[in-house]
Subunit: 369 residues, 2 copies
Amino acid sequence: MTAPMLSISRRLRNTPFTRRVTEAGVKSYTVYNHMLLPTAFDDVVSDYHHLKRHVQVWDVACERQVEVRGPDAARLMQMLTPRDLRGMTPGQCYYVPIVDETGGMMNDPVALKFADDKFYISIADSDLLFWARGLAYGFRLDVDVNEPDVSPLAIQGPKADELMARVFGDQIRDIKFFRFGMFNIEGREMAIARSGYSKQGGFEIYVDGFEHGEAIWDRLMSAGEDLDVRAGCPNLIERIEGRLLSYGNDMTRENTPHECGLGKFCDTHIAIGCVGRDALLRVASEGPVRQMRSFSIDGDAVPPCTGIWPVFADGERVGRITSAAWSPDFQTNVAIGMIRMTHWKNATKVEVETPDGMRVATVREQAFT
Amino acid sequence: MTAPMLSISRRLRNTPFTRRVTEAGVKSYTVYNHMLLPTAFDDVVSDYHHLKRHVQVWDVACERQVEVRGPDAARLMQMLTPRDLRGMTPGQCYYVPIVDETGGMMNDPVALKFADDKFYISIADSDLLFWARGLAYGFRLDVDVNEPDVSPLAIQGPKADELMARVFGDQIRDIKFFRFGMFNIEGREMAIARSGYSKQGGFEIYVDGFEHGEAIWDRLMSAGEDLDVRAGCPNLIERIEGRLLSYGNDMTRENTPHECGLGKFCDTHIAIGCVGRDALLRVASEGPVRQMRSFSIDGDAVPPCTGIWPVFADGERVGRITSAAWSPDFQTNVAIGMIRMTHWKNATKVEVETPDGMRVATVREQAFT
């Protein structure tokens, strides 16, 4: 069971770009934050090659925004994450692990700071709005927490700078990585960040207003015809190569940020007021006993990874694979998983139980780049 | 765009019954609480006829449980809902609207009371766990809020009593509507409630432990062979006929319970301590200006309702349809929608803008029964 049909209803929300995505011949979807997220156009392999060579426009409206506004905005933001936000300036994007009081991952979004009293949190697949609102209400914070009518549109690939400069002017080239600028688009100030869920470089336009989606999509498509611009989407193979984690796939509330290799985004000692601090201080001092790694898996292309694949060494279970795919560029199966410290050193050989049998696999400390 | 392919990944969780559902020939899925929910086996119309005549076993594991345990469990439960829970006794199920501080619907689950210090909340499609945990943390409640390894399996249809009695004994027949009893199943105490998301009668087994899913499924299937038991799922047509609301489809955080026709489950005056009380007292005293109704829509079968269909009267917008389907038994299109008080009286004629043109529709105060 790898590709059954998806029944569409209002509950699986359309995006401002759904009509264009359909016209572009989307083949399959997933559901993400109660919204449609395309997963393939030509097919995952063709999409992959194209992404690495050209430029794609991605409907990632499902990266819903949690807008945090008001005098206590900065306080709530610091409650949400163990990352120290004191140095964050307007125009910056921060990748922020968000944990519950036990240190378990609730989301791994990117936060955008507009001002001391206004942030966006561009979320992964969980209703972070509910957690943030619960905290705000419980702590009686002077803050408004809502989901604005804002839908990210990603432009990814090596020709992203050229395409974006044609549409929005050369100043787009000056935006540094994980920074954003404000641009007048369709008569409205919209944020454009140098960010995105690929390692091929690019931007995310925070399209403000559902009604502007198609016009912006169309401008990008016509300006990029000679660049071979295409509709695309986050690519399973490319994101596994680059070890871009997927919340719900590679990690859940069971995991601490340290296990996920996100310890570098935790300044738990100085992030006074963050939820989960007690639990994470303990983890930070002792270190995690298992951690996220990349893997190569020997043999032919593995079947789709739709669940946990146990990892063994000497017959003992030492970890698990949670994402895997055949990589045309690396000519091996690439994978992401969690492994115990006894076996997490680079080049360690382990065995993976896939649906079609045991495979030899090799631990990699670095992503595939 | 009505049925594209669904890409499966760990993030769209399998259920304890997914293997059996696949073997039974599931045709399509939706995603509900980050989990697979079947939407059709034969096809929606055949499934509908079968449900009304025989008995079906439904994988509704996606009705995830929020377990609330501890000395402050009852206090947290009353914070979550404007329904007065003081009279709730162990063994009762309560349909409980859950609202945020502005009175907006966050979920419309069924709560089960096991004891003063233990409840389950069997949730609709939103991460209610995050809201409940946020409140518990913010108010420093002595309570543990978690998602247990519990997966409801529904047995629905006119022969449900017979099938369940064969498997679990005749005492199953004594369970009253929206009550549950504890039964020893597979060596474990599990709750069985007379409840379910259809109007055909039946039960929900709260399967405790992923590993027991297939054994229970198999016992039901073999005991019911001569009853023509089949794998089924919540049926779009039948639930619209019965006006069973769907969170995310028929209502969202935009709506109050009163608009949704759930005012009878709000005892806001006496539900001291419930979140949203200030806002709902206002609504309760003034009454809603629009409300949920059933509709019949003239003409041939309408296309799938995948978004909002505006409703007009004399050229003015007066409401919207959010669910619609052709009903073989009523020989008309049945629908659920929200309509302004100026036009909500029974038998009022209005016009609905469907994707294939305007249709005449009639307001119905009662569901189709």
